[in-house]
Amino acid sequence: MAKNLTDEQLIHSYQKGDAEAFDELYSRYKNAVYHYFFRQVHNTSAADELHQDVWLRIIKSSTDFKLQSGFKTWLYKIAHNRLIDYYRRSSRQPLHLVHNTIVDINHEPDNKYDDSVNQPSEPDEILQEQQVNQALLTALNSLPDEQKEVFLLHERSGLTLQEIAIITDNSFESSKSRLRYAVKKLRQHMTQYLAVER
């Protein structure tokens, strides 16, 4: 029943006390939100903390949700603000300055999440798959935070550029420009692998 409802209908049901509506909402966005944090802070415990904080804020302030904005935009706006807050509190430098070194292909930070979904059967294929994955993650980590965030929001969370502009408090053109640069750099890093893939 809840599966047929929109995000906005679900959050309204939850406002009225329907806990199952929240379960459905959470199941829809839990992975994307967690991924958004994990790929930016690159730390499992920090990602856990941020993920939990965001959802607790959603729970506490669900009554503040207004129909004018979509639930997804609202959710990621909270996530974005929480991430900025995290950066401020931890006095952490932007990711692209910290992770601009080439990560060794055999070194897998939190590599439990980096396994390929479809396991190749041959050792050569496994190695090649790992190389591609690692190259992409390395390329992603080398992006400036702003570009990486826009890429993650677009690629993993499925947000439109307009929604990303709202979430990040930027103009549409600025968001599009950031995404363009991000894709361009990733392509440059992945040229050989993309050719292989093709």
Binding site: A19, F22, N31, F38, W55, K60, Y113, R156, K184
Partner: protein
């Protein structure tokens, strides 16, 4: 040239990417499977359930508080309305008194001072509240004012002074045939005018009472079949107060005056 070609390739690649045709997306979707742990999921879902339960409890308590508040408000409203109604009745009674209606004890005082005027009796029934009494008097006055427009000779009720009406009620079947009654009427009127409550409006009332008294005298004369005197008095009245309305019945009886 080569740079332009690269830019064009980048643009095409970006356009493909936006349309979801890029292999970059395919690779990325395959490699990234970061998920929150089950423990984390459970803690968040539990928090959501606890929150809904607490909200339900808060809502119930709030509903109870609201219903209590509504009850108190309703009771207060009824109290205020009752008080205002009572106050309005008091004010109405006071207004009538200030406009020339004597105090409740006044008719009795008049009657006691002038025992010969036993026909003038207080119309206040025993056990009636002061405001109700005032309202009743006002109604009587209103009725008698209407009656005066239908004044019929011999059977007409005695006119009542509009400015100082109701300090005694006349029996409608009675006529002012007795001079002593007229005298009592005038005395009572003077007494009313002398009272402090009427002092402020005395000039106006005097003027108004004079007109009414003259008309009463005219009626008295008609009553006594002194038509000629009544005609003279009416002529004098019309000379002094040309704009004051005279009952057409009087005019009919005395025409031509």
């Amino acid at each position: 040239m080569k740079k332009q070609s690269n830019n064009k390739q980048d643009d095409n690649f970006f356009d493909d990417y936006l349309e979801g045709k890029s292999s970059l997306s395919e690779i990325y979707q395959q490699i990234d499977s970061a998920e929150p742990s089950d423990k984390l999921n459970q803690s968040i879902l539990s928090a959501a359930r606890v929150s809904t339960e607490q909200t339900a409890i808060t809502k119930n308590s709030w509903t109870q508080t609201a219903s209590w508040a509504a009850s108190v408000a309703a009771i207060s409203l009824v109290g205020i309305l009752a008080h205002n109604t009572w106050q309005a009745e008091q004010d109405a009674a006071q207004t009538l008194e200030e406009d020339g209606l004597p105090s409740l004890s006044q008719p009795e005082r008049v009657l006691k001072a002038k025992p010969g005027k036993a026909e003038m009796e207080s119309s206040m029934p025993a056990g009636r509240s002061a405001p109700a009494h005032a309202r009743a008097k006002k109604n009587v006055l209103s009725n008698s004012a209407n009656d005066s427009r239908k004044l019929l000779y011999k059977s007409a009720p005695a006119p009542v002074m509009p400015s100082a009406p109701g300090y005694f009620e006349l029996n409608k079947t009675e006529s002012l045939s007795d001079k002593s009654q007229v005298q009592a009427f005038e005395d009572a009127h003077k007494e009313i005018l002398a009272s402090p409550a009427v002092e402020a409006k005395k000039i106006k009332q005097d003027r108004f009472s004079e007109q009414q008294i003259m008309l009463n005298k005219i009626i008295q004369l008609i009553d006594n079949n002194k038509i000629e005197q009544a005609q003279k008095l009416l002529f004098q009245f019309k000379t002094n107060y040309p704009n004051y309305p005279v009952d057409p019945v009087i005019l009919k009886h005395l025409s031509p005056y």
